[in-house]
Structure formats: C-alpha cells, structure tokens
Chain length 418, copies 2
C-alpha cells in the first residue's frame, strides 16, 4: 500500500472511532486510561527491549547524548507514564459540559455544550512518553488521535501503541481511537497535515524546524508554539529583592524549557543598583551575560549583545540584558522581540502593573511571579498537550479544554421565526 | 507600487494600528462608531453617486438582477448601516474582561483576560454594507481590519471607507485601524491570506467558490462556513402540530439563507400521517419536493431524490425528504450529509432529545425549535461577522467574542518555581 492510501485509511478509521469516542461515557474513558496504565506496567520489560533497539540504531546513527537521553525508557520513566495515565483519569471530563443556558426573548433556551474537536494529529520527535501523554489527553477529551513519532523512536512507539490498543479493547472502546503511524516515511507527515476531511487539528511538538515545516505544509489547523523568548521587566518601583529572586529563578531554574527567561529588561533608574547584585547570582551558575551598551557600563564583564540575540531562544545558560527608559520602552522591546509566550513585570506600582497586563500581547502575562509558572500543571490543567503561542482557539498551556470546542444548543417548545 | 508591496504596507500599518486599538478605551471606540454613523448619514448622497457608478458598470458587465440588488445602496440601506453602527456601540466591550481568577497552590493568582485577535482580514463580495458591519464589529472588539470587497462594489466601498476614516480620526483613533483595499487585482487576496506576520485571522464572506479558494490559499487561520445543509428530524413521538409549524418555518421563512432547512427526515412511524399535512403547507408556497422511495409512496407528487440532493444547499423553494427508521438512521444520515451548521429534532421524548443534543456534531443543535434561530441576533450576540462551521476557535454565529481570544494572567507576590 502506498503512503497516501495508508494515511487515508488511518484517517477514515480515526473519523469513525471519533464518532464513537465523542459519545463514550466518562467512566468508559477512565477505565481505558487505567487499563492502558496496567498494560504499560506489565509490559515494562518488553518496552525496554524494544527501546534498546531504538537506542542501538540511534547510537549507530550518531545521535547526540541529549537526544539519546530523551529517547531512553527507564523503569522510572515507564512508571511515570503509567502514573500520568492515572492522573488524567482523575481529571474532570470536559465533554458534555453545558454552560450559560439562558432564555432569549423569542422563548428559546440557549446555551453551549462542550464537545471534542474530533480527530487530533500529533507530530513529535524523540521522546516516547509523548505517545502515552498525548493519547491519554485526547482520549479523555473524546478525541481520536493519529500519532506520528520520530523515526528514531519507532520500536518504542510501536510497543507503546500495543499497550494502548490492548487497554482500549479491554475497556470496550474502539481500537482505532488511538493509531500510531507505522511508517517512518516523511511523506506520511505531509499527508497527515493535509487530510482536512479526517483530521481536525494538528499539534506539532518538537524543535523549531519540525514546527515550521508542519505549519508551512498544513491545510489542517495547527496548535503550535514556535519559540519561547520570554522577558522579565524590572520596573523602577520593583521590590529589588523580589526582582532578584524572580530574575534568577526565571533564568536558572531550568535552561532548556520554553518558559525560561531569555531577555532581562531593567529600568535605568535602578539598573546601577540591581544589575551588579543579580550578576553575582548569575555568575554563581556560570550564566553568560550579553548586554546593551548601558548594561556594559554597569557590568563590564557582559559581552556586547547583537540584534540577533533579542530574537534568540537560547535554551542555555545565556542571558540578554537591556537597560530601558521605563515601561514604554520595555513594552516596545517586548512587542518587537517577544515570541508571545510569557512575560513578567516586577513592580509595586499599581498603574504600571495594570498597563503591563493589558498591553502585553502574550499567552501568559504576569506580575511579580517567575515566567516558569507558565505550565499546564502549575495552572491546574493537569497536563498539557503543548503551549500555544497562537491567538486563535487556545493560548498558552493547552490541556483538556483546548482539545474541545463548544457547540450551541437550543431547547425550544415549538418556537418559529416571525 | 506592485500588489505585494502594497499589501505588505497595508499589513504593517494594520499591525501598528492594532497595537493602539487593543488598548483603546471602550468610550473612544464607541465615539468612533457613532462618528462613523454620522459621517455615513451625512454622506448619503455622495454614497449613492459612487454606488451608481458601480451599478452602471455592473449592468454593462451583465450582472444578474439579484447581484445588482445586493449591490444597490438606497436611503433605507444607508440608514440601516448607520443604525447598525449605533447598535454595535451599545454592545458590551469584551476586551479586558477578566474571568476565573483563582489562587493556585503555589500562591499565584491565575485567571484569563479577553484580548483582541489583532488584525482581521475580511474578504467579501458585492454587498457594500459588509464594509461597515465588519469594520464596526472588529473596531468594537479592538481589532484592526483589512477589508477586501468585490471589484463590482469598488466605488461604493471606497466612499464608505472615507466615512470610516473620518470617524476614526474624529475619535482620535488611528486611521489605519480600518483599511479598505484599493485595488481590484485578485492577487491582493492571495497576498492578504498569506501575510502571517500581519494578519491573525481571515473571514471570507460570500459564495462557496470564494470561500473554497480562500481556504485553499490561506496560510493565516480562516473562520468560515461553507454550506448550510440543515436538517429537521421529525421523531415518532413528535407533537405533529408543532412539527408541522417548525418544518414549514425552517423551509419557507426565507429560502436564500444558510440556516434554512434543506432536508426533512421523518420517522416511518408517523410518516403516513405527517407527510400529507406538511405537503399541503409546502404546496401553498410552491415548494418543490424531492423524496426517497418511501416518501414517494406517501407523496406521489414528489420527484425522486438523488444522492446529490442530500449534499446540496438549495437556497431555494426545494426540499429533500427522507423517511427513516428511527433516531439512529436519522443520526447516521445527518452525520453523512450535514454541513455541521444547524440541525433540529422535533420530539416529546426526553431520551431521544438528549441523545440528539449530544450526538449531533453541528454548530447549533436544537430541540423543538426552527433552524432559523441559528443567528447572531437571535442568540443575543448583537451582530455577527459570520457563522462558522469550523470546530476550532468559534462555532456557529461569530460575534464580538469570536473576534477575541483569552490570554492567561498571573498576579503574584514574588513566587518562584521550586
């Protein structure tokens, strides 16, 4: 069978499964999630065997250490996958939730019902746990899924797929509710993102190259985030001790994450007092500082920042610093360079906090808190399928609600239009 | 200037204006809407003069009577445009609305703020009033707009654009908040729907050909509706008098609208009683009936329906009728042939009403009410920019809320991640 026919078949099967899944009861979906957890735990040794094949191939291909680490399934990671399934089983089911039922002057009673999107296509790279996490979130929200993992994880993903299928069947749900693409041919991705009849939304997870390619090729709507170029602005009226803690945490808590700060903006009024203190903290973690001219007058150890730095997601112990003339210059910098992920102001000034909240056009806008809080678990979504920097449909961490939509429902007693 | 450069310039100007508009006060936006209404009323005679040029060109080109009618600006239609602006000024401003502020275990206070989408591109055909309606909805919701009307209305739209610009300037808002494309070159549309840096969403309004072309070419997200193939299902346990009124109203209240019924599904248990009665009503309005075999056994005057009929939006006094074996067959027919716009069940049975509401995957699902209620005004949205049959972002009538998104906001007191 050629790739196109194969993907069309997956699409048709997913669409059929989606119809059944949309009306599945909460309890059936939860039983399936728990059954999959059981299957995964009892398949631990075979999962590791299949994973070892991927690791061997990966080493032979010369994958770097970080990539091999992401690819590796350990007992602890297998247990984490099972626990993730149990957590998602415990989340409230959004499907069928009815809200805002009100009577209109015509006498009809109008409201909205939350419904699944239908079929979700997930395209991701090396981490095999995404197979379980994404399938579980889609299943709980009543969506069928087509999962396309990286070729380097093909054996691991197929083994996980068997566990998922067994769990679905045990719970009496359609086995095609979750389908893992079995080919590593790249044209399968092109087909997947163009099957508008069978796929309702695509979620790409991975590096910028993958996401750009998917966005470019897709005819199906995409929920994505490209970059996390997050800013912290230290206002003239900031509590400088708080500012130091937030600026340190936002950069140094973890480097390789999208909600880490990449650029620090400092009001000129407190720059000479604040920058030397925070520089000591960064020095303790060997963070490389790249500063504007005014920054370097205060911190001569900083190297000169370039225009490219302002638009770079380092994902590394590197920080750009700019001294600004107050809030307007900070807002202007953010408007030009932010990736619309997460920005924070540190200030005790009410009016400036309020302006920052209103005027910064990012998926998360914060006052006096670390950018690192922009996360599905911290926001209480339970888990996230991704963090959207798009404006349409879902912004920021996308959990179960982001995988649903609302339809209008009307209850009448024979009303007709006059 | 070539078309691409021209459109890029419009895009950059729109993006700049959107920043200012996003933070404009409700009162400034309302002043602008009322000023535009004043400008339109006082420009009535020049609007009609410019419109006459379009009508002359249209007649010379051989436009049909319906198209010429849609194109014509009368005093009454000019007054309607002004009143529409006044109504939108009275609607509540969705921008800045904060909801669901709750404390998380970390101590951060988390909620969502409603924000404009940014820049909205509207692509439409002959009716010049769309220029005002769409601009007004976008303005009220804090979005900049780029409007691309049909070439047949170019003089009318340019004249309306001058009124809008004058109103914006009088209210102190950026003149580029609303821009009407001045060229009739079709490549301007291709450019508009691909300017992902400057345009956040495209709303095409018009015939199926236009919408299909825009959807195919667009790189920017599209809010659209393709067809309105709406169904009414008369259940075995329907109140047949109510069923007759709803089936008559859904078809005959207006023919050329997307929420009119195109297919009537009738349970076989009451078909012999119900169909002759409703057929008399339809005969009184010269509605052509096209029936399945079982329909034609009861109504020999109906012509034989074909498979194509089930997927056709007539927008005319024509109706397809199918006799079905109960709810499951009705649901199956809807699943295969509905355009996911609006479907109604007429029944007194609680369980069947509940199943229909849950299982029909359309933007509006109704019990015992005419499909004609699926409309922004009837739903209390005030006005609509369109009716979406997509699942992402907005379903059904799209009013001010559909032109906004929600960002996360976090209020902290120095919280950092552990």
């Amino acid at each position: 069978m050629n790739i196109s026919d194969y993907m069309q078949t997956l699409g048709q099967q997913a669409r059929q499964a989606a119809r059944l899944l949309a009306r599945a009861s909460t309890s059936d979906k939860n039983v399936a999630l728990l059954e999959i957890a059981t299957q995964i735990r009892s398949a631990a040794s075979s999962l590791k065997e299949e994973n070892a094949k991927d690791l061997d191939t990966g080493k032979a291909k010369g994958l770097d250490a970080a990539m091999l680490d992401r690819l590796t399934l350990t007992d602890a990671r297998i247990e984490q996958m099972a626990e993730g399934l149990e957590q998602i089983a415990q989340l409230p089911d959004p499907v069928g939730e009815i809200s805002n039922m009100t009577y209109r002057p015509s006498g009809i009673q109008l409201g909205q019902m939350r419904v699944p999107l239908g079929v979700v296509g997930i395209i991701y790279e090396s981490r095999p746990n995404v197979t379980v996490d994404a399938a579980a979130l889609c299943l709980k929200s009543g969506n069928a899924t087509i999962l396309r993992g990286g070729s380097e994880a093909i054996h691991s993903n197929q083994a996980i797929a068997k566990c998922i299928e067994a769990g679905l069947i045990k719970a009496g749900l359609p086995a095609n509710a979750v389908q893992v693409v079995e080919t590593t041919d790249r044209s399968a991705v092109d087909e997947l993102v163009r099957m508008t009849d069978y796929v309702d939304v695509i979620v790409p997870r991975g590096g910028k190259g993958l996401i750009e390619r998917v966005s470019r090729e897709a005819r199906v709507p995409v929920i994505k985030h490209l970059d996390g170029i997050c800013h912290v602005y230290i206002d003239a009226e900031a509590d400088l001790l708080m500012a130091e803690e937030i600026a340190f945490n936002a950069k140094c808590h973890r480097y390789g994450v999208c909600n880490a700060m990449e650029t620090l903006l400092v009001d000129i009024a407190i720059a000479a007092e604040f920058l030397p203190k925070i520089a000591v903290r960064y020095a303790s973690e060997q963070v490389e500082l790249r500063g504007c001219e005014r920054t370097r007058e205060i911190l001569p150890q900083a190297i000169a920042v370039t225009e490219v730095d302002w638009d770079t997601e380092y994902l590394a112990p590197i920080l750009s610093i700019r001294v600004v003339n107050g809030l307007d210059e900070a807002l202007d910098h953010i408007d030009r360079h932010s990736s619309a992920h997460t920005e924070t102001i540190v200030t005790e000034n009410y009016s400036k906090a309020r302006r920052f909240l209103r005027e910064v056009d990012s998926s998360s806008v914060m006052v006096n808190a670390s950018t690192r809080f922009a996360d599905g678990f911290e926001y209480g979504l339970g888990a996230e399928i991704g963090i959207s920097t798009d404006k349409i449909h879902a912004r920021g961490p996308v959990g179960l609600l982001g995988l649903t939509s609302q339809k209008w429902i009307v209850l009448g007693s024979g009303q007709i239009r006059n």
